[in-house]
Amino acid sequence: MNGIQPPTIEYGQLSPLLLVFGAAIVGVLIEALAPRYLRKSLQMPVTLLGLVGAFALVLTVVMQGVPTKAAAEGAIAVDGPALFIWGVILVLAVISVLLINDDNEFVASAAAVPGTPEEEDAIAAGGAHTEIYPLALFAIGGMMLFASANDLLIMFVALEVMSLPLYLLCGLARRRRLLSQEASVKYFLLGAFSSAFFLYGMALVYGFAGTVSLAGISDALGAVGGQNTLLLIGAGMLGVGLLFKIGAAPFQAWKPDVYQGAPTPITALMASGTLVAAFGAVLRVFWVALGNLDWDWRPVMWGVAILTMVAGAVLAITQTDIKRMLAYSSIAHAGFLLTGVIATGAEAQNALSLKGILFYLVAYGITTVGAFAVVTMVRDAGGEAGHLSRWAGLGKRSPALAGVFAFFLLAFAGIPLTSGFFGKYAVFAAAVAGGAVPLVIVGVVSSAVAAFFYVRVIVLMFFSEPAPDGPTIAVPSVGTAGVVAIAAAATVVLGIYPEPVLRLAEDAASTLFIR
């Protein structure tokens, strides 16, 4: 009678995940079996097919109706928000992969020591690490899982599945390899460190609740209320792990270094995909599991949010490297998003906030990828011309590119008629409705400060004379050009007629997270 009955796995709902991971494994097999000269031409289609197919599957799942109970024995919640986030991640992933598909960015042979004959040979041989594709796929799959994990264990595993490949990818930059490797090692050590915190927090929470399923924790909370030390410390440590991933202050230190050092396409992937996934996880943990604890964590979150917004905005002002500056800007944006996370309340209020956050993630993610795509195109002898001073007068040398970049910057600054404006509006509106007016005021003030450094770049590009030995604008590969085009188009469309996406976000948010 008490034989072990097999678990029920809703393959249908999980198909997008499975497809991405499947594609990743296929990629690994290709690396193992296919001859070197074939690999790239095989990897690329596989990857794209995997991602696009997964996106299609997401759509089909949505068509069949958003599930109302967690899949895989309650381990994975394929609910409205999850599906939406999956869709977003997949879109961003496709775009980023188009960027990644640019040999110029990645090292010929990671094993070869920089500046040694073997590196020359590797370059001469035109070698390339096609492993980046499966690695990226694993990371993407990890992101999707991270955002949809319905118990802490899965979330932890997903966190690692997402992070480990990124650690590696960070180290694969073709030029400035020292920086790249440094970024990689820093990211790895700090990431591991923070995930240890996450894990310990998980342990403590488990100790309190006796389960790691989010629903279970929430129930346990309902029973006890938030007086328990174990629980509070555990919640704090969980928070540390997650806040580290979204780069909230005071856990933001890694972001500028890693963003600057990593190959720009990977930075794009991290800045967009990881952020989206991480916010998915944050929302699940704090709304679903710790929802009943909100009276305790909201004040702390206030502090974190304010600190993050201000630190991001203020520190960015004096940055001299474009990628670093974008990193700080992404910190500030994480802060803006946190104001949405805080604005919880009644069902309707939560739906409103969720909708705002989801839209913001779409808008910000796409613009970010676009911005980094532009960065890859501005090059000089030593590779990308990262230093801002090299960007002086770009507006004269290639008005179109500079114009697009300026447009992205304005979107970051949240100027009306760009996607960024509606993103900010949605989140802030939710926050105000949730009664977080002071937070919003801090938000607008810091975005005014932030505007300063976006504007500074525009001034450099358009209002100052070009340097005689200014950077050259690389003729973009089809992929890169496509990315910029798509991002720009999306930024415009979302800036002028955001309604459809808003509606999607609304539907996704309406169901909220299932337990």
Binding site: A110, V185, Y206, T211, Q260
Partner: protein, 98 residues
Amino acid sequence: MTTHYLVLSALLFAIGAVGVLVRRNAIVIFMCVELMLNACNLAFVTFARQHGNLDGQLIAFFVMVVAAAEVVVGLAIIVTIFRTRRSASVDDANLLKY
């Protein structure tokens, strides 16, 4: 009774954390992280015992696997940077700053 184990795990975690802060060698730092993970494992197992359900022990296994994967990636990264810089000290790697 089980609290001793918890205290121990807490101590281990703290030792690991401090180790990360005070040691320079990347390998050692990494091992300190591993130590922290194991501290977590201990805690999980203890709690499993407390609650009398198996989840904790099961999680511990997962963690070990993850840790193993982490080792692979970590060593790969550290070795590369060691080969480049001929040093495994994390303090040498600070080109990226400010």
